[in-house]
């Protein structure tokens, strides 16, 4: 007993120093020991780095917006052209992200579950939209889909126009968003335990039940993440879209183009006002998606 009083064991706290046998005040616990060292310094660095890379530029954006009065701000962000552009940007991004969820899942599924000749090449192809300069994507898609393009020339007689209208915007956004869904779902699908599916089969589940009850809950969080990333990327996309959109006011102007056109008239404050609104909406949407994810994980994990 006395030995323990003289040489308190590490982690036991100062309370143990009291006279042996006596019930002293409850031991004061030091901050929980972490397994990995260097928490403080890495947290400090993380905060510093995030400030430098993300928060400072964003606060500059906000500060510039503050040079406007409220009525000016409101006028800048609710002009009919700007409202139409929000509808297009968020609507097209949502559509494109949803399409990508369906077909991205399909691609990931095929890449994980089956082996076939040339699989490595197909796998690499998925990443191309990442690597390609987006302007190149926009120009090539336009060349394909315009009325005189390879594909467009057969569609135009049928009355289907895919370039120079909102359809083109959605197509460009599907193109650039695909890798996000595939690459987030793929590793999760790879890790999914085949035994669970086999067990489900053995217990008499139909294929559909196995997919909905067993596989889908496991990959849903990854799918949501992929969706969120594809969606966020699509909202900010400029390079590929402007070539295929046709950029008609009220019809096919995306919000980033509105920002650029405000800069063209040296309306910095107006441009940042629109950017701030976009940022706000995107942030809220991403928060909602994150919350959904947590909720989903808790539900399936519980």
């Amino acid at each position: 007993m006395s030995a323990s009083a003289t040489y308190p064991l590490p982690g036991q706290g100062g309370g143990a120093l009291g006279p042996g046998g006596e019930q002293g005040p409850p031991p004061v616990r030091r901050a929980a020991k972490r397994v990995l060292p260097g928490f403080n310094i890495t947290l400090g660095f993380t905060l510093f780095y995030l400030c430098l890379i993300v928060l400072i530029p964003l606060s500059a954006l906000l500060l510039k917006t503050f040079t406007l009065t409220w009525p000016q701000f409101w006028e800048a962000v609710t002009a009919p052209r700007v409202l139409a552009s929000y509808r297009l940007t968020f609507g097209a991004s949502l559509t494109a992200a949803l399409v990508n969820v369906v077909f991205g899942l399909l691609v990931a599924w095929v890449l994980v579950r089956y082996t076939f000749p040339g699989k490595k090449i197909v796998d690499a192809l998925v990443d191309l939209p990442f690597a390609l300069p987006t302007a190149v994507a926009g120009i090539s898609l336009t060349a394909l889909l315009a009325g005189n393009g390879w594909i467009g020339q057969y569609l135009e007689p049928l009355g289907i126009q895919l370039a120079f209208n909102p359809n083109g915007v959605v197509i460009a956004l599907i193109f650039i968003g695909l890798p996000f869904v595939v690459r987030t779902v793929q590793p999760v699908l790879e890790d999914a335990e085949k035994e669970l599916e086999e067990a489900a089969m053995c217990l008499g589940a139909t294929r559909w039940q196995t997919f909905v009850r067993v596989i889908f809950p496991a990959i849903a969080p990854a799918l949501l993440t992929g969706f969120a990333m594809a969606f966020a990327r699509a909202i900010g996309e400029y390079g590929s879209v402007i070539f295929i959109a046709g950029n008609m006011p009220m019809i096919s102007e995306i919000t980033p183009l509105i920002i650029i056109s405000k800069l063209e008239q040296y309306d910095y404050a107006g441009a940042t006002a629109v950017a701030t609104v976009m940022l706000g909406i995107s942030f809220v949407l991403l928060l909602v998606i994150n919350a959904l994810q947590t909720w989903q994980r808790n539900r399936s994990g519980g």
Binding site: E75, R81, F164, M248, P249, L263, E264, Y266
Partner: protein
């Protein structure tokens, strides 16, 4: 010995790089489609400068959209001179104190050594028979123009269309009606001058492209001569290409004299002739006449005649809520 050799070599390299650094160089920040013109002009200027002063000089070029360039210079791009295609871009720099407030008076002709004008490019043989502005608003004609919100080319096309009505004795109301009819015939608004050319020639959209006269040369060069015919309308606009010395940079670098010499060279017979060869209208009447086959004499009006000034026009027509926005938001 080896050590000595190495030190000597290092010293030599240092000295050489120092000499290279000591050579005066100018940075000309200019608009997108002037690349070829300034490439030729710079070669001529370097030779001219060597002959006049005996000193070597180097001229670097930077090209992008006119107002994007102006913003870059305002934000600190170390241009010695700016050579733009829209007066408002230089005025913006003057408002930031980067160029002199009276920049327009520092050089002759409103500090615009060259001009251009808006004309029509139609498909070879002019199948739709487009001759003048009135033909653009006929039903079934598709017109390709640049979005005035995103490009100086588009602003000039819009003002040229508006002014064409005024020049024929019409009122502003009639001009507004004409312009609104014209933009109803526009299937795609291009983002910039080169984008418009691409839509017209690569995508094969539209019957007529309204663009700068100076674009004709590059169209012929890139897409092959004979693809398009240039149609000069009966009346069009004078689009000035303003130039200015960037005081902020030349004061720091001590290149004021060279920068002025460079811009002066644009006004010289040699400089004016090079401009004319690139289908840019020189101010020099004799040289303009010499190239009248391409730079046809048509009735021209200035922006100031009908719009007060370009910045005035910007406010009334192109800023948010202006006349151009009304074309697209009315009745919606």
């Amino acid at each position: 010995m080896k050590h000595f050799a190495r030190t000597a070599l290092a010293a030599l390299i240092l000295a050489a790089s120092h000499i290279a650094f000591a050579q005066t160089s100018l940075l000309n920040v200019s608009y997108d489609v002037s690349r070829e013109f300034y490439k030729d002009l710079n070669t001529a200027f370097v030779a001219h400068h060597k002959k006049a002063t005996g000193k070597d000089i180097k001229v670097d070029q930077s090209h992008a959209g006119s107002s994007a360039q102006a913003r870059a210079v305002a934000d600190g791009l170390e241009a010695d001179v700016v050579t733009m295609n829209t007066t408002t871009d230089v005025e913006f720099l003057a408002s930031k104190g980067v160029v002199a407030a009276d920049w327009a008076k520092r050089f002759p002709h409103n500090a615009a050594p060259t001009t251009s004008t808006m004309l029509f490019l139609v498909r070879n043989g002019n199948p739709k028979g487009i001759k003048d502005w009135d033909d653009l608003v006929k039903p079934g004609i598709q017109v390709i123009v640049v979005n005035p919100k995103t490009g100086g080319n588009g602003r000039m096309a819009y003002l040229a269309a508006w002014g064409s009505v005024r020049a024929k004795g019409g009122t502003d109301a009639q001009a507004a009606e004409f312009v609104s009819k014209l933009y109803k015939n526009v299937p795609v608004l291009a983002r910039g001058g080169r984008d418009a050319t691409g839509i017209f020639l690569q995508r094969n959209i539209g019957d007529v492209l309204v663009t700068f006269e100076s674009e004709v040369v590059s169209v012929d060069k890139e897409f092959g001569a004979g693809r398009v015919d240039a149609i000069h309308p009966s009346v069009s606009i004078v689009a000035e290409n303003p130039v200015a010395v960037v005081e902020r940079t030349v004061n720091k670098k001590g290149t004021a004299a060279e920068a002025k010499a460079y811009l002066d060279f644009l006004y010289s017979d040699e400089g004016q002739e090079i401009a004319a060869k690139h289908n840019i209208r020189p101010r020099n009447e004799t040289i303009l006449k010499k190239y009248s086959a391409a730079l046809r004499p048509i009735k021209l009006f200035t922006v100031n005649e009908y719009f007060g000034s370009l910045s005035e026009a910007q406010k009334v027509h192109f800023n948010d809520g202006g006349q151009f926005d009304k074309l697209y938001t009315q009745g919606k």
